[in-house]
Amino acid sequence: MKRSVWRDFTIGLIEENPLFGLVIGLCAALAVSSKVENAIFMGVAASFVMVASNILISVIRKAVPNEIRIPIFIVVIASFVTIVDLTMKAFFPAVYAALGVWIPLIVVNCIILGRAEAFAYKNGVIRSIADGLGKGLGYTLVILVMAVIRELGGTGQIVAFENTIISLKGFQPPQILQSFPGAFFTFGLLMGLLRKLQGKGE
């Protein structure tokens, strides 16, 4: 049973969505979803690292000895994360300051190592790109939805790239959505909602 390349891409969006389906890589997702702008940058950064490391690992997979594959994967991922880290620091210092420790922590984001181990190590380059793109997009979508809910609900407006995109007038925003507990609540309820819509319990 060989899945098509398109299927490799789409399965990451809902069924095997890294956050709701596989429930991995949560830490960064919760932390950066308090602002839409941060969520976009984090999504792009994580997707870039995922696609790039998938490509490289899939290219070198025949040369990697089985016993030391994990350290090799980690070094590959760490190199790409360093690229992102330094690029962001140079070109987007404000966002870099807001994302803080989360950029270096992409190294240990289980989604990326998980995809390297479960997919890129066993499949060809094209399919690995599709897989990385799909999982990256699925990840970005979820944190974007959470960020919209949390920023709009928590501050009453969405400000991205110095433009106010939406602003609710006469709305008293509950600040809890912006703070840490709000992230847990939003995620838990969204996940429950998704399960309800898919019609499956546990």
Partner: protein, 203 residues
């Protein structure tokens, strides 16, 4: 002495790594469904995190910083140190104490990808990411206290949570919320409680 106590408290309660900083959530959700696995995981984390931070402190202060390559090599260097250390600890424990290995064995490989360990190491070496209002630049002793605080905070929450989730298992809750979603909502409530510590002693 007072400063050490404040650093400990800041790491342990006020900036609790799980509930306030969201770091290390994957192992948290993975092992907190049963009480005994959560204790095993806590022990492993306390052990590895302390050693890893010390090792990274040494690598940073003796190697990376004097050579001036710290800013762009710290991520690969720290993660390699941690991965090697975990492997090494696994081998030593296996040889020295088979009982301890039985208890911690399955958790050790998981810890390499536990972001809490990398975060604790980075933070005790390059303080500033988490913006505590203490003065920075930890010496070895302060970095040690800080790491132990983080590790104990992680363990306390994970054990507390395991007890809670065992009760939730038998509680009547909506079908679609069972399992992970309700765990998140419970985590939200605990996090709300921990927010109460904010500003304690002006930290």
């Amino acid at each position: 002495m007072q400063r050490l106590f404040l650093i400990f408290l800041a790491a342990f309660l006020i900036n609790n790594i799980l509930l306030i900083k969201f770091i290390g959530l994957c192992p948290f959700l993975g092992v907190s469904s049963r009480f005994d696995t959560s204790i095993g995981m806590s022990m492993a984390v306390i052990f590895v995190m302390t050693l890893a931070s010390m090792a990274c402190w040494g690598v940073w202060n003796l190697l990376l910083d004097p050579l001036g390559v710290g800013d762009f090599l710290y991520i690969p260097a720290f993660i390699l140190v941690i991965a090697a250390l975990v492997q090494f600890i696994e081998m030593v424990i296996k040889k020295v104490s088979p009982t301890l290995f039985k208890a911690l064995g399955i958790f050790l490989p998981l810890i390499t990808t536990n972001c809490a360990v990398l975060a604790a190491a980075t933070e005790s070496v390059k303080p500033g990411f988490w913006k505590l209002s203490l003065e920075y630049n930890y010496g070895l002793g302060e970095a040690l206290v800080y790491t132990i605080g983080i590790a104990l905070g992680f363990s306390m929450v994970i054990i507390m949570f395991a007890a809670m989730r065992e009760r939730i298992e038998i509680a009547p809750i909506p079908h679609s919320l069972k399992g992970i979603p309700i765990a998140f909502i419970a985590a939200g409530l605990s996090s709300l409680a921990f927010l109460g510590f904010k500003g304690l002693f002006g930290i």
